[in-house]
Symmetry: C2
Subunit: 344 residues, 2 copies
DNA sequence: GAACACTCGGAAAGCGCTCTCCAACCCCGA
DNA sequence: TCGGGGTTGGAGAGCGCTTTCCGAGTGTTC
């Protein structure tokens, strides 16, 4: 099976009685080839079951029809369960789904790449420059990541999902995280909550710090000063722990904003355990509008994060930049919206 | 940036003052090259910042260091939301996570491929035979899918996750779905439930039919005859609808087995809406032990599905087959386990 | 009928790499 | 001094494709 040689351009050419060049032209629909020959060639293609070899083609055209989805992680070891947690999180799947919705239509493939070390990043950039893929969509996890800069300096078309921590001239799509957090704050206040608190993500990643800043600012505007903030790491368990800590330090709180739904779920557990009713005693607002939000009980009032749309836009942006590398660097910011359910 | 030509083997050879062949040998660590030259070459590599071109290498070695993750769907259109639902489901992410855990350690990359038409399948097999990837992990969604057979006939190393609907000599990993369903049945019975029902997935996909068969068989063994089964499509909403239908037709039922957690979640909603308490009035068992199970309220008693482990094993199997194409076809069946929580 | 403009198809030069020969060389024993 | 065995490094032939030249053929115009 695998052993028998596959038909090549050469074979097709021989059978059709023309040159390799002609077959190539016919297959790629280039120039006006005599309709008669055209037919003869396609016939030979059909008879041989010829399929062009993408590798060989890419080698000369410098185009692969592939885009890399790069997950840039900080120093992760193989036995580190973090990555598997990352993949199990709906975040990853939603991004892939959004990307595929536009890539698939263009016949572009997606190659998954994970880099966890600077060495890995260097190799990745090298491979990309060598035409391993036409461009990259980057999911950058570490608080500060050299990858975006390395990519732009290497001249690799790339689009970030989520803004870079430090300014880099690179395309990206992002969510107005601060606005989202402000929506949460206003919802809690308008529900009558007075003593608010927040369960945030790691303070050094942009999405997190933006949510913290947005929440604080919105409260300040409404005359609320300092609010207790407990830091989690976006997992359910960390949300539960954070909630316990908050309750211990501030038993009178009546409103909580969690920086994602998973942590809100954890908070719900901790509140139930502490005998607090949601939303009567404590109102809770999550973030993301993930499927977990509707599964929760009470169903989570949360902030909608149009991740699929963002990923799709990132893909479009990347395709455009691949087509036109000199294009001006741009970024697209999506507006979040409040989703009202039962928890606040 | 992108314009400047990248250093090639040739350049390195010139700088090191040796031939291309020698540089190639040094880089690939082949044969005993004079230690002195060895050093000279590496030095030149460092100075030029040379990175081997994978494409060119693959073209001659017939090895890409890439494995395709193929999602074989039936006739899906671009505006069909099904795919995005599929990606958002934790199933996809868990599979990717499991695969990556072993592929990454081997430096193997994963390329995502989606095929929705027979034409697409044909092209895919052609590309794979041409060495687009070294092998494929297949997630086959349609009830009956020609892809597995096409792959084996094309001599493409491939491993299925989930057994093929019709017997094909191909490696696969699967879960003992029937055993899992039996565990659910026994749990319900031992909790004292007497009038059981099931919310199944589409009856024509193997995983579904196995769960149905296992559930029925276990009940029959315990002297329970016919049980009402309502069919859903693995989404939350379909579970809710199915539960309503069941309640309408069998108001007295006191135990439900849902073929996955998402549908169990929907069932929970429908039961609450109907004023039934879970587990006091109606006991509910789910399937998968997804993250939704613990988020649910009451937390779902469910069947653990070690998907990450299965995917990892699939990856190992594939790597082995790529290494040794003549290896005997094998399959690995995982045993599910009952996870006791609150809903049953 | 010659000069010109086109159209079409073929030859061949790569793309960047690997790997099989083969020549050159070294060391040893006869 | 010479032949044989064992290294080591270089030349060069591909892997399967695209694409630039060019030459040959056709039709058009004065």
């Amino acid at each position: 099976m695998r052993t028998e040689r596959l038909p090549t351009l050469e074979d097709v050419a021989r059978i059709a009685g023309v040159s390799r060049a002609t077959v190539s032209r016919v297959i790629n629909g280039i120039r006006n080839v005599d309709p008669q020959l055209h037919e003869v060639v396609w016939d030979a293609v059909g008879r041989t079951g010829y399929v062009p070899n993408r590798l060989a083609r890419s080698l000369v055209t410098r185009r692969t029809g592939t885009v890399a989805l790069v997950v840039s992680d900080s120093e992760s070891h193989d036995d580190d369960p973090f990555m598997s947690r990352f993949f199990a999180d709906p975040y990853f799947g939603r991004v892939v789904g959004g990307l595929m919705s536009v890539l698939r239509a263009q016949g572009v493939q997606l190659a998954l790449q994970i880099v966890g070390t600077d060495d890995g990043r260097k190799r990745l950039v090298g491979d990309l420059r060598n035409g391993q893929a036409d461009g990259a969509i980057v999911l950058s996890l570490p608080a500060v990541d050299p990858l975006p800069r390395m990519l732009t300096e290497g001249g690799v078309p790339a689009v970030l999902i989520g803004r870079p921590a430090e300014p880099v001239p690179i395309d990206y799509v992002d969510l107005a995280n601060d606005t989202g957090a402000a929506l949460a704050a206003e919802r809690l206040l308008s529900r009558g909550a007075q003593r608010l608190a927040m369960i945030s993500g790691p303070a050094d990643v942009p999405a997190s710090s933006d949510r913290i800043a947005g929440f604080r600012r919105a409260l300040a505007r409404r005359g609320h000063g300092w609010v207790p903030i407990e830091t989690g790491n976006f997992t359910r368990d960390s949300g539960e722990a954070a909630m316990r800590t908050l309750l211990a330090g501030h038993p009178g709180l009546d409103g909580v904003f969690a920086a994602n739904d998973l942590m809100a779920l954890g908070a719900l557990s901790a509140l139930r355990e502490a005998g607090r009713r949601v939303p009567q005693d404590v109102a809770v607002v999550g973030f993301d509008d993930s499927s977990a939000a509707v599964a929760a009980s009470p169903a989570l009032t949360t902030i909608r994060h149009p991740l699929e749309d963002m990923a799709a836009e990132a893909a479009r942006l990347l395709l455009a930049r691949i087509e036109e590398p000199a294009m001006r660097v741009s970024s697209v910011i999506y507006e979040p919206a409040l989703v009202e359910r039962d928890s606040a």
